[in-house]
Structures are given as C-alpha cells and as structure tokens.
Amino acid sequence: MKYFLKTQSGREFELEISAGNADSYSIKIGDRTIQADFTDVDRLGQHAAIFDGRSFAASIEESDEQHLLVNIAGETFTIIAQDEREKAADAVASQGPPRAEVVKASMPGVIVSLAVAAGDVLEPGAPVAVLEAMKMQNEVACLHGGVVEEVLIEAGQSVEANQPLIKLAPAPQE
C-alpha cells in the first residue's frame, strides 16, 4: 500500500509498504528498499521497530487515523499520514466550497473572554476566545473562518476539552 506522509518540518515522503509474514514488512522509500520488523508492545502506544537491523523504541499516539505523533529516541514528530484514497479525497475537499466549522476548546479550562458575537465575519485563524488553565491563558482561534452562527458559551464558564464553543457558517462567497 502506498502512503503519503508530511511532517511538521514540511518535508513530504512517499512510501510503499508491503506486508510479509507476521510482523515483517518491506518499505520502499525513494530508490531504497528496507526490511522492517515491527511489533506492538503494549497496545498503549509503545512499539518496537527494527529497520535493516537498526533498532528503535517508537511510541505512537493518534489524534485521528491520519494525524499521528511519533516519538523516536525522545524526539517527537507530528505526522500526517494518508493513503492514496485519502490524499485524493483531501485534494477534492480543498477545491470545494468552504465548510461550516465548529470551534472547540483545545483543553479543559475557564473561558476568560470572548472575542466574537453572532453575525461576526471571521478570517481564517481569527481568535474567538481566551481559555485559561493552570494559570496560563491560551487563545482559541478558528481554522477556516466564516460567519458566527451561534456562540455556545459565556465568559467565565468552565469548559471541557473538545467542548464546542462557536458555530461558524461558511463565509459568503464573493
């Protein structure tokens, strides 16, 4: 299976994985082929990887199946990993009309202030609220922007992680 991967440094990789017996795989990357042995240690994220004899303790966490955090030898890499179908679907979605968006709390905490009201038009990445946790203030921003359809919280309110804060409708097309 072919995979397209992108790291937080902006580098892009194209790999082809073929499964062999049990936990063995062969990886095609560029013009190289690497033999891999890969096991799930504890079903909690720890894995043991051996690539052409080089051994690594790898830890993997996923926020969803395409977004992975991979820790190798103490360094953490944020990776978007897509197969061919997902990459194609992504390409189609990015060309389509803007989508509606729900801005969620990035962590549990208290809403210190709200920067928007219903009807406001937001640019992509515009701040919508300030969230406080552990005595630190964190700005919550929208991703795609749009028109504020509904404000679901009030200043001073406690929120859970991933709690919806603001509903946005797609910005009107020019």
Partner: protein, 513 residues
C-alpha cells in the same frame, strides 16, 4: 540517618501535593516518621495520598478551595496529632501568617520564621537588609535623576555599561543601554524625552546593565543554634519567562574561589534575617561579578541536584532542624561530580509552552546508574488544569559534566510519557546545542533558541535521519491499522475478515453477529 528516640517530631502533615509532597513523604518514611497527606477532590487518587500513612480530604479543586486553606489544614493537623507541618513549595510555604498560626497552635513549622519570610518577601526591605549585610546588590536604580549631568554622575559611580530606565516605565519606552560616558548625554536626552512624551514624566533611573546575565543561586541551610551553611550553587539560566527548564550543579562558570565568595555572601544574607531551615539565595551573575536578586524562603524545586553533588538530604535536614537539632554533621561537605535536572512539565513547547492536559495513558521510566526520578506521575493520572504543570524532575548524576549530560540524553530517550505533551523533547534538543555543551548560555538562551530556528547551533548526538525513521514507523502503523479493520474478531473469538462478514450478511439477511 537515624533520629534519636526522643526526637520531638513523630508525625508530619504535608501541606502540599504532587511531586514535592511525595518527595517530602519519602524522606519522612526513611526517617521512620509517620506522614499525613491532605488532598483536593481532584487529587483523591494521587500518589502522595496513597503513599501516606494517613490522608484527609480538603475538598474542592482549585488551590483556593484546597491547598491554600491554612485554617482547615491546621485543624486536620491538630486533630490527627501531627507534631509538625511541612509546607513544600508554593501554596502556603511563604505565608508568614500560616507559619505563625502553626507555631501558635503548638506545632512545628518545617521552614523559616515568619520574620525571615516578611523581610525577604519585600523587594525594598530585602535590598536594604542586604546592603547592611555587605551582600552585593545590582548597583543603582534607587533614586531617580532629573538631568543628564546627574545621570552621568550616577553612571560614573555605578560603572559602565549602565541602563537608563524611565521612572514611569513600561512597554520598552524610555530605556537605553549606555556603553560609555560619551553617549550618556544624548541617551539621557532622547530617553527622557521619550518618557516625557509617553508618560508625562521624564525622570530616569540609572542602573548597572548586566551583560549576558546568568541566574545562579546558592543553597543555604540554617539551624536554631545560629549556624548557617551553604551547599554551593545551582545554575538555573535555562529558563523562559522565569520558568526554569534545565538546572545544573555546579555551574560551568563558577570556580572554587567564586563559589566561596558567593557562598559567604549567601550565608551573610541568611544570617541577616536569622534564617532557619533550607533556603535559596538567588544571584544574577555577569562577567565574573554577582548581585543579590532575592531569597526564596522555602525548599526549591531544583534542590535535588544539590543533594546529588553534596550527598545530603535537604528535606531530612529541614525536619532535623525543625526538631531543634544542629546542622553540624553537614560541616565540611564538598561537592563531587555533576548533576543536571530537567523539569518534565505537561506543556507543549511547539505551542508557546501552553499546558497540555489529558490522561497519562502510557509511561516508561528511565533507570540505571546515575538516574534519579522525583515524580508523582502514574499511568491513568489525569493532568488537570488546577495546579502547575510539573509532572516530574529527571536528575542525571555523573562524575563530570559530560557524563551527566550523556546520562540525561539517555534518560530523555528511555523516557516515554503518553497522553500529554511534555517538555522532554525540547530539553533533549537543548542538551545537544553548542551553547549547552560549552556551558555558554545566559538567561536569554532558551527564548532565543525557541524564537530563532535558523540561529540554532546544534551538534547532534542523536542520528540525523530520525524524521525519516518516524515516517516509516507511521506508514507501517497505518498499514497495520488498515489490516486490523479487515480482520476483526467476532463474538465467538474467531477472526474473520470483511469479505466473510459480507457473505454472512448476504446469507442471513443483514444479521451480523
């Protein structure tokens, strides 16, 4: 260390939580002293609760609802028959009124007197006390000057370079660094004019400008018999917005003669307030000179590295001192080897070091020679928004600095914390920088490192192709997840695949087990 049978403290209440509560509890248990934990609702499952002999709830979640409730904590201490209270750091540790209330109730407060806290907690009062005790303070900055001539006179007395600071100050306006006497008149006129425009007040302060300042602090310990000793320095310059990330002892820039000079100054500072118990005198160090910054009248987070190089247990010494013992057994201790501490915080360095909350889903601790982990973390622990973000202190000890550095690299590679983001990754990077390797860093180093990725000078100890390795790991992980979706175990435990399931669905009219 063993205590005499008539040692007056048999039971200690620990008025704190997290790593430091566990740390204090461990020394108590090693001494054969019973421990009492108090806890908030959020901390019901915490290690400090589980490891204590007795535990009592404070209720609530926020510090104000729980660990700051001095009256409630004192009531519990009296009720359970504790002889002493150890406040740890933060919370009530530098609250003079609480210390007095504890003593007034007939219990011992394991810490300094409220008088020492009051003097050292006040910027002006502590500066005055230090000047009287001949402890060097940052020259200047006490009286405003009104014209260029007065500024030049003050600068001559202080010594160049100096900093001109607007008396009304703020937002970087009205600030000038002046390198030599020729520049001072122009600098005063422009800076004062700027301040006049911005704040309507043109008066300026003249202060010594510290070039490449380092934060170096001296550990002190006093007893009730008038003895005060110092335990050398800790180098704490790797910090960001006054949050320290990596500390080491000894400092790479302090030689034995300077250590003795700084140590004597710290002892003089402590004696000026009749200091009892463990405390830390913080100095700013610049180009071989050092200046008093403040004194922290409590045990400090990074005390562990001093313990490693001096072979002393500072928590034990605090308890002994509170029980009227002397510190004479600490006389003549000398530093051996090198210790480095990394603070493992639940925070996201890539996102401005903001707290990273969640559940610790996975945990793999390092071990082996020269490794010390002071922690309160366990698998399944929720990292809540109520308290500070420190999860653990990782301490590497080595015969020399390079061995300690290499051990810390190993510690950070063996470590794995799953479920929250931590400061471990950025610490691992910093340990490989040219600046850290050479011991050449100041208090601005971490900030510059985070902000200017291009200027990072790193000589890596780790392989260069880890990104590619991580990408291969991610691809195989996805491949396996995809394979699992096609072969799911059925209720009777037999693996099946989606083709078989589809065939069954067709056979049984949509009924799939």
């Amino acid at each position: 260390m063993t205590l005499s049978p008539d040692f007056p403290i048999k039971k200690v209440l620990i008025a704190n939580r997290g790593e430091i509560a566990v740390r204090i509890l461990r020394s108590c248990r090693d001494l054969g002293i019973d421990t009492v934990a108090v806890y908030s609702d959020a901390d019901r499952n915490a290690l400090h609760v589980r490891f204590a002999n007795e535990a009592f709830p404070l209720g609530g979640n926020t510090p104000a609802e729980s660990y700051l409730r001095g009256d409630a904590i004192l009531a519990i201490a009296k009720q359970c028959g504790a002889d002493a209270i150890h406040p740890g750091f933060g919370f009530l540790s530098e609250n003079g009124a609480f210390a007095e209330a504890v003593e007034a109730a007939g219990l011992r407060f394991i810490g300094p007197s409220s008088h020492a806290m009051a003097v050292m907690g006040d910027k002006l009062a502590s500066r005055k006390a230090m000047v009287a005790a001949d402890v060097p303070v940052v020259p200047g900055g006490t009286d405003a000057v009104k014209d260029a001539a007065a500024a030049a006179e003050a600068a001559e007395e202080i010594g160049y370079p100096v900093m001109l600071k607007a008396s009304a100050g703020g937002g970087g306006k009205g600030i000038r660094v002046v390198e030599n006497p020729e520049e001072i008149e122009t600098a005063f006129t422009t800076a004062s004019g700027e301040a006049q425009n911005a704040f309507g007040d043109g008066r300026m302060y003249v202060e010594k400008y510290l070039v490449e300042p380092r934060h170096i602090e001296i550990q002190v310990l006093g007893d009730k018999h008038g003895n005060v000793l110092h335990f050398g320095e800790r180098e704490c310059s790797l910090q960001r917005r006054h949050q320290k990330l990596i500390e080491e002892a000894p400092s790479p820039v302090i030689d034995e003669a300077t250590r003795q000079r700084m140590g004597s100054a710290a002892v003089a500072a402590a004696k000026a307030v009749d200091y009892v118990s463990a405390g830390t005198v913080e100095f700013l160090w610049s180009k071989g000179e050092f200046y008093f910054l403040e004194m922290n009248t409590r045990i400090q987070v990074e005390h562990g590295i001093t313990e490693e190089v001096y072979g002393v247990d500072l928590i034990t010494q605090m308890i002994r001192v509170a029980g009227d013992e002397t510190i004479e057994d600490c006389v003549g201790l000398i530093p051996r080897g090198h210790a480095i501490e990394v603070r493992l915080n639940a925070e996201d360095p890539e996102n401005n070091f903001l707290p990273s909350l969640g559940t610790i889903r996975n945990l793999r601790w390092p071990g082996g020679p020269g490794v010390r982990i002071d922690s309160s973390v366990y698998r399944g622990m929720d990292v809540t928004p109520y308290y500070d973000s420190m999860l653990a202190k990782l301490i590497a000890y080595g015969r020399d600095r390079e061995q300690a550095r290499r051990r810390m690299l190993r510690i950070l590679q063996e470590l794995h914390v799953g479920g929250v983001k931590t400061s471990a990754g950025v610490a691992l990077q910093l340990l490989q920088t040219k600046g850290f390797r050479e011991g050449n860093y100041d208090t601005g180093f971490l900030e510059r490192y985070m902000e200017d990725q291009d200027a990072r000078e790193v000589a890596r100890d780790l392989p260069d192709d880890l990104e590619e390795i991580a990408v291969m790991v991610a691809a195989i992980y996805r491949q396996r997840a995809g394979a699992r979706r096609h072969i799911k175990p059925t209720a009777d435990g037999h693996a099946t695949n989606s083709w078989v399931a589809q065939a069954r669905r067709e056979q049984h009219g949509g009924q799939v087990r």
